[in-house]
C-alpha cells in the first residue's frame, strides 16, 4: 500500500514538473509542501526569541532531536540561558517528561499541557507538529485560489479548511513558493473568521537535498506578541538512534 502511494505520488510529482505546475490542484500543492517539510528524522540547534507587546523579551537556545518513524518522538535540551542549561524535555506521542538538573529528577508533565502553547511561545503544539512532522494534508482540505507574487517570489495561494472539527482553526491561508514548495506565509483564522496568527518564513537554504527555511516568525495578532525561531544548525541525514528518546537519556548531559 505504501509503495503504491509512493509511486502515485512520484507520478504526480513528475506530471507536475512536466506542465510547470499549471495543472496542479490545491491538494497536489499541499502534498508537495508537506513532502518538502516532513522528515522522518531531524536534528536542530535553534534559538527561540519571544517578544510581548509591552517590549519584554525571552531568549532560549535549544538542541532538538526529532524522529517520527515510530510515532512522534522529540527530545529537547536547553543550552541557554546558563541557569537552565541541561534541562531536558522529552515527548513520546502525548507523554511528556522534564528533567531538571538542579533538582536531579525527571518529572512528568500532564498531557493536557499539549493543548496550550509550545514553551510559552506563539506556536501551539498543533502548529509545531503540522510544520514539523505531521504536515497539513491529513487535517485540511486544500483549494487553490490563485497565483500571487510575494516579495518577488511566485506563489500559489491555498485556502485550507479543516476536515473535522477538532482543530483550533476554522481556516488557513497558505502561500506556497512555486519553486521550493515551502510555505512563505500562513494566516490562521479562528472560529469567528478572524485572523489570529501570521507565520512568515525567511532565509531558505538547500540542506541535505531539501529546501529549508532557517528563520520563522509567528505573530499572535490578538496578544500582539511574536515568536522568532532561528535555526543555527540542521541536518536530516544523520541517523538518530531510537534509544535517545528515553528518560534515561534525558538525564544524561550532552
Amino acid at each position: 500500500m505504501k509503495k503504491i502511494f509512493a509511486i502515485t505520488f512520484l507520478l504526480i510529482l513528475m506530471s507536475g514538473a512536466v506542465v510547470f505546475g499549471e495543472d496542479l490542484t490545491g491538494v497536489d500543492l499541499l502534498l508537495k509542501m508537506d513532502e518538502m517539510m516532513k522528515t522522518e528524522q531531524k536534528y536542530m540547534e535553534e534559538e527561540m526569541i519571544l517578544y510581548t507587546s509591552s517590549g519584554s523579551e525571552r531568549h532560549r537556545k535549544v538542541k532538538v532531536w526529532n524522529k517520527s518513524t515510530d510515532g512522534d518522538n522529540m527530545l529537547l535540551k536547553f543550552v541557554e540561558p546558563a541557569s537552565v542549561e541541561g534541562t531536558g524535555f522529552l515527548m513520546i506521542e502525548d507523554d511528556m517528561w522534564l528533567y531538571l538538573p538542579a533538582l536531579g529528577k525527571v518529572k512528568r508533565i500532564a498531557g493536557s499541557a499539549k493543548q496550550g502553547s509550545f514553551m510559552g511561545s506563539d506556536l501551539s503544539y498543533e502548529d509545531m507538529e503540522a510544520l514539523g512532522s505531521s504536515g497539513f494534508s491529513e487535517d485540511y482540505k486544500a483549494e487553490l485560489l490563485k497565483k500571487e507574487k510575494i516579495e518577488n517570489r511566485d506563489t500559489y495561494l491555498l485556502n485550507l479548511s479543516p476536515v473535522d472539527g477538532e482543530l483550533s482553526y476554522s481556516k488557513l491561508e497558505v502561500w506556497i513558493d512555486s519553486k521550493m514548495f515551502l510555505p512563505l506565509q500562513i494566516f490562521y483564522y479562528n472560529e469567528n473568521g478572524e485572523k489570529i496568527k501570521e507565520l512568515k518564513t525567511f532565509n531558505y537554504k538547500m540542506i541535505d537535498g531539501r529546501w529549508t527555511s532557517m528563520k520563522m516568525q509567528m505573530k499572535n495578532l490578538q496578544k500582539e506578541s511574536m515568536t522568532v525561531l532561528k535555526v543555527n544548525e540542521i541536518s536530516f541525514g544523520k541517523e538518530i538512534e531510537d534509544k535517545i528518546f528515553s528518560t534515561r537519556f534525558l538525564e544524561m548531559g550532552n
Partner: protein
C-alpha cells in the same frame, strides 16, 4: 454699555438670528457629549501615578476588575457549582475580558505521584455529596482560596473578571450586568467592582439629571412668575438659561469633553444662577416703563443703569468658578472652565437677547406688579436688627467663626467613589457583601523590578507579603513567590516543608521553565518574559481614604524593612492608589483656588466700588462664609470630596454679589447725604428685597439636589443653599454691623484726638 444697548435695540432681528444660529450649531455638538466616570480622567495626561498604573496594565493585563458574587445555602452543591461554571464560561466569551477566575476555572499546581500538573482546581464537577465533601474541605482549608474565591462559611463564591487594558470598562460592566440578570435564581447574584460602580454612577447621573432638572426649571419658573406676574418674566430668563446650557454643552462637545460626576451638577448650577441677571434687568426695565418711557427707551435705560452691576456680579461668579482652573484635577479644571463659560454666556445673552426681544415687543402699559408686603416686613425687621443689635451680630459671628475653626480639624477628604452610593442601594449591598464575605473588590498592585529568579529577592518579596498580610488590611497576596513555593512543594512529593523559596537560583529558573512548558499563561499575570519585572497583587479590605492611607503607609514601611540591601525597585499602583492621590489633589487645589478666588473677587469689587473698606468687608464676609462651610462640613462629618469641593468656589463667586449690592447701595445713599445709619436702613429696605428674592431663587434651585440619589450631591445641595443663606444674611446684617462699629470706633478715636 450704552453702545451695546443702542446696537441691540436698533438691529434686534440680526441679534436674534445670530443667537439662534449659534445655538443651533452648539446644540448639534451638545448631542455629542458623553459621560465619563473613569478615575484616570481626573488626572492630567502625563501624571506619573497614571503612567505607573498604565504600565502595569500594559505588562500584566488589566488591573481593573468586575466581581460577581454568588450566594447560596452551600456553594458546594452540584447545581450551584454548575451555575458558577456556566457563568464563568459566559463571561469568558465576552470581548474585553482578559481572564475569569472562579472556583471552576482557577488553576492549581498539583504535585502528583508521577510528576507535576497544572490543571483546574475542580477538574470535574462531582455530582454526589460524598465526592463534594473532601473537595469542600480541601478548598476551604487552603488560604489561597478561602476568603478569596469562596467565603469562609461556604455560602458565597466569587467570580473575578479581569478586564483587558484598553477596554471600555463601563460598557462592559453593563454587558456583565445583563448576563447576571439572565442567570438570576435560585442563587442570588451580586455584581460590583469599580467599572460596575462607575456604570451605575453614569446611569444614575443621567437619571438624576432627567429627574431633577425639570423640577428645578419648574420651581424657578414658579418663583419668576410670582415675582413678575407675567409670561415674559418667566420666558426671557428661562431662554437665557437654556441657551447658556446649550452653548456650554456644545463647547464640551466640540472640545470632546465628557460629563463627569463632578460637572453633572453644572446644569443645575447654570439654571439656578443664570436667570438672576435677567431678573435684575427686567426689574429695572419695568421700573423705567412706569416712568412712562417707550419700550425701547426703557431697554436702553435699564441696560445703561444696571448693566455694569450685572456685569460685575457676573464677573465675580465667573472668577469664582474659574478658580477651579488651579486644581491639578483635570475634570475639576474642566468644570471651572465650562461653568465660567456658561455663566459668561448667560451674561452675554442677558445683555443682548433681552434688549433685542424687549424692543420688539410692544410695551403693554400694565400696572406694576403687586408689592410684596412680606418682603417689606422682613427687610425692615432686618434693618432694625442691623442697627440696634450690631454688637450681638458681631459676637454671634465671632462665635460662629470660632465654632467653625474648631470644626476644621474634623474635616475629612474622601475621593472614594464608593461613598457615592447610598446605603441600601443595590450597588452598596453588593459592594458590602464582597467586602464582608471576601477580602474586597479592589486590588493593590505592587510592581517589582529586579532579578525575579534571584532567591534573595524572592525571599524578600515573601517576607514583605507576609508582613503585609499580618496587618489585616489585605487578603492573601499573590505573586510569582506563591507559584514557585507551590511548585517546589509539588516537586518534593508534596511535603509541606518544601513550600518555600529554594536557595538555588538555577532551580528557580528551571521551575519557571517547567511552568513555561506546562502552561505559560499561568505566569504571565505575575512576571514578564525576561523575569525582570513582577507584580504582587492583593485584594484590599478597607477602601476608605483612611484605610488606603494606612495600607500605603504599611507598604512603604515593609518595603523599607524587607527590600533594604537588595537590588529591587517597587512601586504601588491600583485604582485605590489613584483615588488616594486624588484626595491630595483635592486639598491642594482647594486652597490654591480659594486664595485665587478671594484675590480676584477683591480686585473686581474694588474696581466696582472704588472703596477699600467696602472691598475688604465684602471679601472678609465671603472668607468667613467659606470658613463656616468647612466648619459645618467638619462638624457634620461631610467629607470634602470631588463634588463638595466645588462648594467654596460657588460660595465666593455668587455669595459676594449680595455684599456688592448692599454696599454699593449704601455708598450711593451715603454720598447722597444720608447718615451711616440712615444709609444702612435705606439699602437693606430697598436692595434687601432683591437680595432675598435672588437668594430664594438660587437656593430653591440647589436645594432640589436633596432628591439626588447620590449622597455627595445631596450634601452639595444643602451646603450651597446654606452658604447662600449665610452670605445673604451676612450681607444684610454683618456688613451693616461692621460699618456701624467702625463708625463708632472712628468717632471715639476722633474724640480722643480732640481731647
Amino acid at each position: 454699555m450704552h453702545r451695546l444697548a443702542r446696537f441691540t435695540t436698533r438691529f434686534p432681528k440680526i441679534v436674534l438670528a445670530v443667537i439662534i444660529i449659534i445655538t443651533l450649531i452648539f446644540g448639534y455638538f451638545a448631542t455629542k457629549v458623553k459621560m465619563t466616570t473613569d478615575i484616570k480622567d481626573f488626572f492630567p495626561k502625563d501624571d506619573p501615578k497614571v503612567a505607573t498604573y498604565n504600565q502595569v496594565e500594559d505588562i500584566f493585563g488589566g488591573a481593573e476588575y468586575i466581581m460577581v458574587a454568588v450566594t447560596a445555602d452551600d456553594i458546594f452543591h452540584y447545581e450551584t457549582l454548575k451555575k458558577i461554571d456556566s457563568l464563568t464560561e459566559q463571561f469568558s466569551e465576552l470581548e474585553g475580558i482578559a481572564s475569569v477566575k472562579s472556583l471552576t476555572s482557577i488553576d492549581e499546581i498539583k504535585g502528583t505521584e508521577w510528576g507535576l500538573e497544572i490543571s483546574s482546581l475542580i477538574s470535574e464537577l462531582p455530582e454526589n455529596e460524598e465526592e463534594l465533601r473532601p473537595l469542600k474541605g480541601k478548598i476551604l482549608g487552603d488560604e489561597m482560596y478561602r476568603g478569596f474565591i469562596v467565603s469562609e462559611d461556604a455560602k458565597a463564591a466569587l467570580i473575578i473578571l479581569e478586564l483587558d487594558a484598553d477596554v471600555d470598562s463601563v460598557l462592559l460592566a453593563g454587558k456583565v450586568s445583563k448576563l447576571i440578570e439572565d442567570n438570576e435564581g435560585p442563587e442570588n447574584l451580586y455584581i460590583t467592582g469599580t467599572p460596575v460602580l462607575n456604570n451605575v454612577l453614569a446611569d444614575s447621573m443621567k437619571g438624576d439629571l432627567k429627574k431633577l432638572l425639570p423640577i428645578v426649571l419648574l420651581i424657578i419658573a414658579l418663583i419668576l412668575y410670582l415675582y413678575f406676574r407675567s409670561l415674559k418674566g418667566v420666558i426671557l430668563p428661562f431662554t437665557t438659561v437654556l441657551i447658556s446650557l446649550i452653548w456650554t454643552l456644545g463647547l464640551m462637545g466640540i472640545l470632546d469633553k465628557s460629563i463627569s460626576p463632578l460637572n453633572a451638577v453644572m446644569p443645575i448650577i447654570l439654571v439656578s444662577l443664570g436667570n438672576a441677571y435677567g431678573i435684575y434687568l427686567l426689574n429695572r426695565y419695568e421700573e423705567e416703563l412706569k416712568f412712562g418711557k417707550s419700550s425701547k427707551e426703557a431697554v436702553i435705560g435699564s441696560i445703561t443703569t444696571v448693566g455694569i452691576a450685572i456685569l460685575m456680579a457676573g464677573g465675580t461668579t465667573v472668577a469664582g468658578f474659574a478658580s477651579n482652573v488651579f486644581s491639578d484635577i483635570t475634570l475639576m479644571r474642566d468644570f471651572g472652565i465650562f461653568t465660567s463659560f456658561g455663566v459668561a454666556i448667560a451674561l452675554l445673552i442677558t445683555l443682548t437677547l433681552f434688549p433685542a426681544v424687549l424692543s420688539l415687543i410692544k410695551s403693554n402699559k400694565k400696572k406694576g406688579r403687586i408689592k410684596n408686603n412680606y418682603l417689606g416686613k422682613i427687610t425692615s425687621m432686618l434693618a432694625n436688627l442691623a442697627i440696634n443689635k450690631s454688637k450681638i451680630i458681631i459676637i454671634i459671628t465671632l462665635f460662629l467663626v470660632i465654632l467653625s475653626l474648631a470644626g476644621l480639624p474634623r474635616l475629612k477628604t474622601d475621593s472614594n467613589f464608593f461613598n457615592f452610593f447610598a446605603e441600601g442601594s443595590q450597588a452598596k449591598i453588593a459592594y458590602n457583601l464582597v467586602k464582608d464575605k471576601f477580602t474586597g473588590s479592589e486590588s493593590i498592585e505592587i510592581f517589582i523590578e529586579g532579578d525575579v529568579q534571584d532567591p534573595e529577592l524572592l525571599k524578600a518579596m515573601n517576607n514583605f507579603q507576609n508582613d503585609l498580610k499580618s496587618t489585616g488590611l489585605i487578603g492573601e497576596p499573590t505573586s510569582i513567590v506563591n507559584i514557585i513555593e507551590r511548585t517546589n512543594k509539588a516537586m518534593h512529593e508534596n511535603q509541606s516543608g518544601f513550600e518555600k523559596i529554594p536557595d538555588n537560583r538555577d532551580l528557580i529558573a528551571q521551575y519557571l521553565l517547567l511552568i513555561e512548558m506546562s502552561d505559560d499563561s499561568y505566569l504571565q499575570n505575575f512576571v514578564t518574559l525576561d523575569y525582570q519585572k513582577a507584580r504582587i497583587q492583593a485584594l484590599v479590605k478597607d477602601t476608605s481614604s483612611e484605610g488606603t492611607a494606612s495600607l500605603l503607609a504599611a507598604i512603604e514601611r515593609y518595603e523599607e524593612e524587607n527590600f533594604a540591601g537588595i537590588k529591587i525597585k517597587s512601586t504601588d499602583t491600583g485604582i485605590i492608589v489613584l483615588i488616594d492621590a486624588l484626595a491630595d489633589m483635592i486639598i491642594k487645589g482647594q486652597i490654591k483656588g480659594l486664595i485665587f478666588a478671594l484675590i480676584t473677587v477683591f480686585i473686581i469689587v474694588f474696581l466696582l466700588l472704588h472703596s477699600l473698606k467696602g472691598s475688604i468687608l465684602s471679601v472678609l464676609l465671603i472668607a468667613l462664609v467659606s470658613l463656616i462651610n468647612f466648619g459645618v462640613m467638619g462638624w457634620a462629618g461631610i467629607a470634602l470630596d470631588i463634588v463638595t469641593v466645588l462648594i467654596s468656589s460657588i460660595g465666593v463667586g455668587v455669595g459676594i454679589d449680595y455684599s456688592i449690592h448692599i454696599y454699593s447701595r449704601y455708598l450711593e445713599e451715603f454720598k447722597a447725604g444720608l447718615s451711616v445709619r440712615e444709609a444702612i436702613v435705606k439699602s437693606i429696605e430697598t436692595t434687601g428685597k432683591s437680595i432675598i428674592s435672588n437668594a430664594a431663587a438660587v437656593i430653591s434651585g440647589f436645594i432640589i439636589l436633596v432628591f439626588s440619589s447620590f449622597p455627595p450631591f445631596k450634601y452639595f445641595g444643602i451646603l450651597v443653599s446654606l452658604i447662600m443663606f449665610v452670605a445673604a444674611t451676612g450681607a444684610m446684617l454683618f456688613i451693616p454691623a461692621m460699618l456701624l462699629s467702625l463708625e463708632k470706633y472712628n468717632l471715639k478715636s476722633i474724640k480722643k484726638g480732640e481731647k
